[in-house]
Symmetry: C2
DNA sequence: CACATATAGATGCATTTGCATCCATATTGC
DNA sequence: GCAATATGGATGCAAATGCATCTATATGTG
């Protein structure tokens, strides 16, 4: 097997594992009446950053599109889960902060999310053979 | 580190690696004027199945939503890349076949896709440490 | 300072998604 | 054979996405 074939197989496995885990985790959240994963990601990132986060930083970290994240932040604010303040030191920008309500919701989501992660990744490790070859490849 | 923490770390790594690779590969295709990955997946699956594929099977294999795939197939047919025939043995269903034009397009996409896979997965293997622990975990 | 360029974020519009429902044919149990 | 139910696929509608563009502020250069 060439190095490329190894990488190709890993890409296929990566897609399959991710797609199935992602779909099932989203379903678990939805079945429990919880919001989607992207909401959780934002809330958690903000809960970890007491001084708030600039949208453009969050976009890069979480790989959102700029316009998509802009509107996601507006939805989250409309739901009372975050606040968007003007940044005092940069008139162009904002700083996002989580609200108490946001923290409460994140805390309610976590047990469901945690359980789903555990179940899906337990299952995923059964597909490990598809990835091990990649991991054993020299990095350059 | 508990088993759960290992799985959680693996889930986070899986997301990051997948999201970045997926985004960059899609960009590479788009920059080359090629269609999106989901088109490629369908074309390739059909090219591998000379007798055609039933939509419901493709949905399951590629983890599409039923309605989403239904419309994707219609778009592909409108572009002349596939044909949707009525299944003779099941009046409810269809059988999808790739056209010559579809094969030609898939062949044109592949070199671009291949190059992008190679580059992204080469990079991805640098994040391997996040996943190895999961892979070493006993499966049950 | 004045001007050109870069950056943060919002927005209009077309396309795509997700969900619920709907239609048609298959299958099952009586 | 016939009603009840299940399955494959399409569709209407609301919501989300991607892209290009727009506005406002920052930064950099002469």
């Amino acid at each position: 097997m060439t190095d490329f074939e190894t990488r190709e197989a890993a890409w296929i496995a990566l897609n399959q594992i991710h797609a199935r885990a992602h779909r099932n985790i989203e379903r678990a959240l939805q079945d429990a009446g919880m919001p989607r994963l992207d909401w959780y990601d934002v809330l958690w990132a903000l809960e970890c950053a007491p001084d708030g986060v600039r949208p453009y930083q969050m976009q890069e970290a979480l790989l959102f599109e700029q316009s998509g994240f802009s509107r996601l932040a507006m939805r989250l604010e409309k739901e009372g889960l975050i606040i968007r303040r003007k940044d005092k030191t940069d008139g162009r920008g904002l700083v996002l902060h989580i609200t108490d309500q946001g923290k409460a919701l994140r805390g309610k989501i976590w047990p469901v999310y945690r359980q789903a992660i555990d179940q899906e990744m337990r299952h995923a490790s059964e597909q490990k053979d598809c990835l091990t070859a990649l991991l054993d490849l020299p990095r350059k």
